[in-house]
């Protein structure tokens, strides 16, 4: 394995993992977020769900070759390298890329989380020699609360302020669907009103058997019917919560659902009036626990708070080193 300009590179298989700065001939893609998947590669290996997401986002064209591998399905990459995917628990179809070569096993985990998520398969621990991890929330201040606690906060706020419209900023892929599903499980019965940017991926999730109950596009409700939204939940991309778009609602209450919301100043920077700590990444405790559970002697850290994780793992006697991959934007991937 090497670190090249375009990203993490497996030399014997001549393939990159999540190359992001450049299009490459052979790419293994762990999941569909924009800081891991992009357009223009020659051939792509990914899970069927990730392939579907990439198609929805126009990352795959006629010219792109594709190989779909379900979780656990072994595949010969040539030159003695075997690839298979294990679930990462991050979003629908998200996977850890497991590479086996000459009796050694390397696991590139991509982005992952350990907290339960009703919209994707749970994280699977794969014992390995080298574990390649992210470090998005790798500081002891990041201890993510259970999602139910945060959703309950939202439900209580809606009960206390029935005249307001709670506008929840969520990323279109993964976060949106996870929040909707959890709200349903918490007993929220009204239709969701969603921004157009969230539609296609929500439909894609539905095609994989997810049920979010009724939802409607905000754009299909006449402008004069402001009252329809009162006391209800509107979902939109984070940038829209304080944008002109949100002025069409009665008493908008800007809410952001993100792992960064744990830090209050971050919430204020986004002008959120309600901060829900909802993360699709492992928190500090889970990162360290996971690295230990894989039994890997070497841990490589791709992006995020690299310094802290490297330091803490070394203290545990693990050979940790930061790769400092560029292009993995800490805010986008979430």
């Amino acid at each position: 394995m090497q670190v090249r300009e375009a990203g993490l590179y497996c030399a014997p298989a001549d393939a990159y993992i999540d190359p992001i700065t450049d299009a490459v001939p052979r790419a293994i893609i762990t999941h569909g977020h924009a800081d891991h998947a992009r357009a223009g590669h020659g051939h792509v290996w990914a899970t069927p769900e990730t392939i579907a997401i990439m198609k929805t986002r126009y990352y795959l064209t006629e010219e792109t070759g594709e190989t779909e591998l379900t979780y656990g399905q072994r595949h010969d990459l040539g030159n003695g390298v075997t690839l298979w995917f294990a679930s990462a628990g991050h979003i629908l179809g998200s996977a850890q890329a497991v590479l086996e070569y000459q009796g050694k096993r390397v696991v590139a985990a991509g982005d992952f989380k350990r907290h339960p998520d009703p919209t994707c398969a749970p994280f699977e621990v794969v014992p390995c020699d080298v574990f390649i991890t992210e470090a998005t929330f790798a500081l002891p201040v990041f201890q993510h609360p259970p999602l139910e606690v945060e959703v309950d906060k939202l439900m209580r706020s809606m009960a206390a302020l029935p005249d307001r419209t709670h506008i929840v900023g969520v990323y279109a892929l993964g976060k949106c669907q996870r929040v909707m599903k959890t709200l349903r499980l918490a007993g929220y019965e009204h239709p969701f009103y969603i921004h157009g940017a969230l539609k296609r991926l929500t439909e894609l999730y539905e095609s994989y058997g997810q049920d979010f109950g009724d939802w409607e596009l905000v754009s299909e409700i006449p402008r004069k019917d402001k009252h329809v939204f009162q006391g209800k939940i509107v979902l939109c991309p984070p940038a829209q919560i304080n944008d002109r778009w949100s002025r069409r609602f009665e008493g908008p209450l800007p809410t952001v659902a993100s792992g960064w919301m744990q830090i209050r100043a971050r919430a204020r920077q986004k002008r959120a009036e309600m901060a829900l700590v909802v993360s699709d990444h492992a928190d500090w405790g889970d990162l360290i626990r996971t690295c230990k559970e894989t039994g890997a002697q070497d841990v490589w850290i791709t992006h995020g708070r690299v310094e802290a994780l490297e330091y803490a793992l070394k203290k545990e006697g693990i050979n940790a080193k930061g790769l400092n991959l560029i292009g993995m934007d800490e805010e986008v991937g979430e």
């Binding site: 201040v141 959120a272 802290a308």
Partner: protein, 529 residues
Amino acid sequence: MKAFSQLLDDLYFTNSTLAKETILANYLRATADPDRGWALAAIAGTLSFDLFKRNLIKTLMMERMDPFLFDLSRHYVGEMSETVALAWPQSPDPVRLNRLPDLHEVIAEFQSRSKPEIRDYLITLLDNMAPAQRWALLKLGTRGLRIGMSARTVKKTLANMAGVEVGVIEELWHGLEPPYETLFAWIDGEAEMPDISKVLTYSPVMLAHPIDEEKDLDRLSPKTHQAEWKWDGIRVQLAAMNGEVKVFSRTGDDVSHSFPDLAAAVNFEAVLDGELLVKPEGEIGSFNELQQRLGKKKPSKKLMTDFPAHLMAYDILSLNNQSLRGETLTARREILAKFIQTQNSPRFSISKTLDWTSVEDLRALREEAAESGGLIEGLMIKDTSSTYVSGRPKHMWYKWKRDPFLLDAVLMYAQRGTGKRSSYYSDYTFGLWGPDGTLLPIGKAYFGFTDEELKLLDKWIRNHKLKRFGPVQEVEKELVFEIAFDSAQTSSRHKSGYALRFPRIHRIRWDKPAGEADRIEAVAALVGK
């Protein structure tokens, strides 16, 4: 404590001032004494004691958490209290409380305990709290609460609750103390308005508007307006009644203890508004010299001899318990002049009025101020018919500051900000070229730019990193700031030999080559030293 923490969160996350007022009013109505009074004090910043020291929090964390990881976390979060609130590691065998104590119980406990007991109590509370509650406790205990609610907004809330003008609350405010039970009894309609006439208090001062050169200059005439120097000292209110003397800062803080020499010279009953200055060897000293006297709990005899405190009086608010606030400025000034003359003391003088007949004269005087070596900040121009009104009434008093000095300096180091700017690089150290061709740091600035510019600067810094020294990030010496500042003092503490007063970023010179930034000699040339 639970309700208090909830209140702080609600206020913190609410954007509109009006909504904040409603939230606070609802809490004050729904909460019993004395909890509501303590909460009010915490928010208004009137608590007079710490429950525990910041250092104790730090010590506890250092015992429980890896110091390196704690530092990384603190720099990332941008603030200690929140870092501790989030990362607090539970004690291995924590004492479990059946319920969280009320706010007043927490305060009473801390106040009655000895040092080691304070430590144990703090640990127990932190072990039993959720992160938001820990944050509230740490902020309360160290009096560091900032939730975007000004003292003025708090008073407006109280005024609305009581159904009176905010001025009524302003005048009561400094005569009352936490937990404000008499105040709430009055607001609830269960008692008369608290009587503070026997208490020697600060009464809010009258403030000036910066002059708008386009609109306001035409309003001025020597028949209706007087001009004075705006001295660069500390604006104070000196109040004396029944043999008691107090010196208050502009914000109402009692700073008497720092100026016993001035207080000892008082043998009258009056309230004076003026500028606190020092007069080493009978001449008005620089702000630098005055600074030696600030914040000293017990100034030494030598310090008081070297830098004797002096009050340059601008105004008189009352004399022999007779309020003069309703008199015109002309009338007050006559009384003040006579009063200062009778005192005949080197400790007191009157701010002289300046001769002028046209706006051109005022402009010339303002230029003169720029050559005072920093002693004079500019001009005060006051409507002579104005009565003494607290706050900042429009078109009564104007201040016309001299232009700031400007220098082109090079960005050297950056540090992440706190609060709203946490995790952005928003504190900048910049320098000027020294004689040997290296940069000498001359100051630090953290404002003067827009939010948009902050994002651009943050990005620039991330892409131009050099070494790191703890929280301080060294950057490539390529970016030039035009720095504005009010004055410069020679300083032995700075490598460059100068300290700038009130430096801020005037412009970011994205295109200017660093080699063309100013040299250190430029400071001396600018400020005439």
